[in-house]
């Protein structure tokens, strides 16, 4: 899979309350959730960003509440992937489980500015910063997680591996 998009950069400890405030959690509809994406960090975000864009975070991205609505609203908006220095563990699991690409790379985060165009070639583990002409190799996930990712998420993996 090749993902290509413009980057939106956020800082450390972006919590799931900021990604999708609890006042909108009376629905599970991905489109409705997506319409409030990052609202408490930047009210205009949903008007500025486009499907395909990439979110960049600092340390501990997705900390706080376990709400899967956070990666669901990011995915629902059409964000192609999140690259962060590190992820909070529940957000990390949730993203893997719903088959949403996340990449941990302090180096890429440090060297990417908002507005840069990135290309992510997931299969080969390569990130290219088109704007700056840089290229990075990213670390592969452990084989067990890769198996879940290859199946498109946890429930597909259960259907294919556990229930067969």
């Amino acid at each position: 899979m090749v993902l290509r998009g413009k980057c939106w950069k956020f800082g450390d400890n972006i919590d799931t309350d900021v990604i999708i405030p609890a006042r909108y959690l009376n629905t599970t509809n991905p489109n409705e959730l997506a319409s409030h994406l990052m609202e408490d960090a930047d009210k205009e975000f949903v008007n500025k960003a486009s499907a395909g864009d990439i979110l960049i975070g600092g340390n501990n991205f997705g900390c706080g509440s376990s709400r899967e609505h956070a990666p669901i609203s990011i995915k629902g908006f059409g964000i192609s992937c999140v690259i962060a220095k590190s992820f909070a563990r529940i957000f990390f699991r949730n993203a893997i489980n719903i088959g949403f690409p996340i990449i941990e790379s302090p180096e890429v985060v440090e060297e990417t500015d908002e507005g840069d165009e990135l290309e992510v070639i997931t299969k080969e583990g390569i990130i290219k910063n088109i704007t700056k002409g840089l290229e990075y190799n990213i670390k592969a996930f452990p084989p067990f997680l890769q198996e879940i990712i290859n199946n498109g998420g946890l429930m597909n993996w259960i259907a294919e591996v556990k229930l067969k």
Binding site: N13, D15, D17, V18, P21, A22, R23, L25, N26, T27, T28, E39, D40, A41, N59, N60, C63, G64, S65, S66, R67, E68, H69, P71, I72, S86, A88, R89, I90, R93, N94, N97, I98, P142, F144, L145, G153, L154, M155, I158, A159, K162, L163
Partner: protein, 419 residues
């Protein structure tokens, strides 16, 4: 090599004799929990899979506590989905309004979770149950759906950090202050992916409710879990309560910790975490002139009977500042009834507080006490993120029930000493 209590519990729930940190393992779970926000997604995922039955109708717990009593049509629809799923699958542990409490207080109180358990819950504060000597961690809805199907889940075995609390607690210092102090010291990702094992002479004499408060906030340091090894206090708490037989594990003396942190409790005074991260802690004596509009005493962190007793002790015969709204929320119906019996509710309402039925409500900005733009609250809850309790430009200050009650009277952040 020895194993920690966390490693022992995880090994006992896998088919492995010994396990090591960073290893990915599959474990059986004793309890799978979800609430009215997270369970709907899990139910949808479960139903999409097309299996007819849950793995065990007695091991799934559905707790509508966040937007209940239902605040609007949409949240009523979400609880309806839980209710119908519970009926269809004959789920043993579904509790409706009037019978339900805030999940992380209700499950220990009712003995649904117990020592030695491996528990996952689609709520980040599931780590609370570590206080019973269990491994308990928060996950998302899809993990919940997976475990409802197979009775299993996967974990990366966490490294453990050992916290040793020694010395004597100062007056007005509680488990809440210890955990806020700890988060202030190590930061909101200081224990990311790790098990926080709370030990030492202070923990040995800390009442169960306050141990639960400490484990509850392990997630606020990024922890995968918090845990207190079982002792006499644990056994006494679980006796006559636990609906399954507890198993008690202890860390080996030669167990390996990635870090050991000693904390001298005699230097700790009541703590206040400033917006917008739980790590922004200050000693209450260093805080001056922070005027407040609201106080919330409750939540899965601090809505225990002991918490209400402390708040009532401070509020008794006094009136809340005319500029402050004070909302007191017992965590469970049992705590509500006991507060009624002990006359605590009288004290609260006579002090001009409101006394609510159990709900997560204001803690997550759901309902029952939302903040307007520019307003400030002192809350005994667990998070003070941007917009957590309402408007993105409102502010939440985290503290113990004692500091919260004192602040309600003073009209600004205050130490119980000042009242």
């Amino acid at each position: 090599m020895g194993m920690t209590i966390t490693e022992k519990i995880l090994a006992a729930h896998s088919d492995l004799e010994t396990i090591e940190p960073d290893e990915i393992i599959e474990c059986d779970v004793d309890i799978v929990l979800g609430n009215d926000i997270t369970a709907p997604i899990a139910i949808n995922e479960f139903e999409k899979l097309g299996v007819n039955e849950v793995f065990d109708r007695e091991k799934i717990v559905l707790i509508p506590d966040h937007f209940t009593p239902n605040k609007d049509i949409k949240s009523a629809e979400q609880v309806k989905q839980l209710r119908e799923f519970a009926r269809k699958h004959n789920i043993k542990h579904f509790y409706d309004t009037g019978r339900v409490g805030i999940e992380h207080a209700f499950l220990p109180e009712q003995g649904i979770v117990t020592g030695g358990d491996c528990i996952i819950g689609a709520d980040s504060h599931t780590c609370t149950y570590g206080a019973l000597g269990a491994f308990a961690t928060g996950v998302g809805s899809t993990d919940m759906a997976g475990a409802m199907t197979t009775g299993e889940t996967w974990f990366k075995v966490p490294h453990s950090i050992k916290f040793i609390y020694y010395g004597k607690l100062n007056r007005w210092v509680f488990g809440k202050d210890l955990i806020l102090y700890t988060i202030g010291r190590i930061g909101v990702e200081g224990a990311r992916y790790k098990a926080m094992e709370f030990t030492g002479e202070v923990i040995s004499s800390l009442p169960m409710e306050q141990r639960l408060t400490m484990c509850n906030m392990a997630i606020e340091a990024g922890g995968k879990s918090g845990i207190v090894a079982p002792d006499k206090i644990t056994e006494d708490y679980l006796k006559d309560r636990s609906i399954r037989k507890p198993v008690f594990y202890q860390s080996d003396e030669d167990a390996e910790y990635i870090e050991e942190i000693e904390i001298d409790c005699e230097t700790i005074e009541p703590q206040v975490a400033f917006p917008h991260l739980p790590e922004n802690t200050k000693n209450v004596s260093e805080v001056s002139d922070v005027k407040i509009d609201q106080v919330v005493i409750g939540s899965c962190t601090n809505g225990w009977l002991g918490d209400l007793r402390i708040a009532a002790e401070i509020l008794k015969g006094r009136r809340i500042s005319p500029n402050v709204r004070c909302i007191v929320i017992p965590s469970t119906p049992e705590i509500y009834k006991q507060a009624l019996k002990e006359g605590l509710i009288d004290i609260f309402v006579n002090a001009d507080a409101v006394f609510s039925t159990p709900t997560c409500g204001p803690c997550l900005g759901g309902h029952m006490g939302i903040l307007a733009e520019g307003e400030r609250a002192v809350a005994t809850t667990n998070r003070n993120f941007v917009g957590r309790m309402g408007h993105p430009k409102s502010e939440v200050y985290l503290a113990s029930p004692a500091v919260a009650a004192a602040s309600a009277i003073a009209g600004g952040i205050a130490s119980p000493e000042e009242i």
